[in-house]
């Protein structure tokens, strides 16, 4: 096992995933890929004035900056432990793009959070997890996070 990927969504509980990833990378002497997929920006519709559209683009820019800063913190923490780490941040259909990236980097193991949530979460976000689990062709370590 040479390449381990962590699907990072930057919500609470990521620390648990990072810890597992660290353990597994030590065990297999593997490289860690932190993969974050950002859902694409919603298509603008006419009801927005130009100002509002501008505002949305700005906000998204700010959010992406925060995301990248956070990914970099995780990267540095792992590098400090002597792990070989790379960060991948891509925009697109989350489940589909994640699976593509796994192929591209020849990932041997995916570590992903398994969230226990209510109905709303399950229908919207949970479906990404379900889709990934169903379609993936490599071993997956699903770590429960609260």
């Amino acid at each position: 096992m040479k390449n381990i990927a962590v699907a990072v969504d930057l919500s609470q509980g990521v620390e648990g995933l990072m810890h597992k990833a660290y353990e597994m990378s030590q065990l297999y002497k593997a490289k860690i890929w932190l993969i974050h997929i950002e859902a694409p920006q919603p298509v603008m519709v006419d009801v927005y004035s130009y100002n509002e559209a501008d505002l949305m683009i700005n906000q998204r820019g700010k959010m992406l900056k925060l995301v990248h800063a956070q990914l970099d913190i995780y990267r540095k923490e792992l590098v400090a432990e002597g792990v070989d780490v790379d960060v991948v941040s891509v925009e697109g259909n989350v489940a589909q793009v994640l699976l593509q990236e796994l192929m591209k980097y020849r990932i041997d193991l995916l570590i992903i959070g398994n969230r226990k949530h209510g109905f709303f979460y399950k229908t919207i976000i949970g479906s990404i997890f379900d889709e990934v689990i169903k379609k993936i062709e490599i071993p997956v370590l699903a770590v429960p996070v609260e």
Binding site: K20, L27, Y28, K135, P139, L141, A142
Partner: protein
């Protein structure tokens, strides 16, 4: 990680799961529990000529499964890994999750088979339910159908 459980259906691909668990058990000095949940006996099988036949058939299947499980256990103990085999009759999902709790399992290794519609409708739902309900890290390993 002290206790690793493998949920086995005793198909030929079971060794794929065992190989994965072996590496993890060695690294963590953990014990491996080989768990096979056998379908429960039918509640009522009638008074006709059939029943004895069916009962004996069931007993033969269980004996066969018991033997297979023992063999798999020996492949682990032979190489110095602490292992124990459990053959339990009961509803699959509930029984498996109860054992995971009872044995204080830290990692559950489970097979994930192909994508056939029939399989997904019948057996795939077992896998889905376990993924949803389990409270410990789960390692899902894809393998081919026999």
């Amino acid at each position: 990680m002290k206790n690793i459980a493998i949920a086995l259906d005793l198909s030929n691909s079971s060794t794929v799961l065992i190989e994965q668990a072996k590496v993890l058990a060695r690294a963590n000095d953990a014990k491996i529990w080989l768990i096979h949940i056998a379908a429960p006996d039918p509640d009522f099988i009638g008074y006709d000529v059939g029943p004895k036949y069916i009962r004996e058939d069931r007993a033969d299947i269980l004996k066969e499964e018991h033997k297979k499980l023992g063999k798999l256990k020996n492949t682990l103990t032979d190489v110095g890994i602490d292992a124990e085999a459990l053959l339990i009759q009961g509803p699959i999902i509930q029984t498996l999750l109860e054992e995971v709790d009872k044995l204080e399992i830290d990692l559950l290794v489970i097979g994930k088979k192909g994508h056939g519609l029939f399989y997904r409708a019948i057996l795939g739902s077992v896998f889905d339910s376990i993924v949803k309900k389990v409270h410990v890290p789960l390692l899902a390993v894809p393998y081919l159908d026999d």
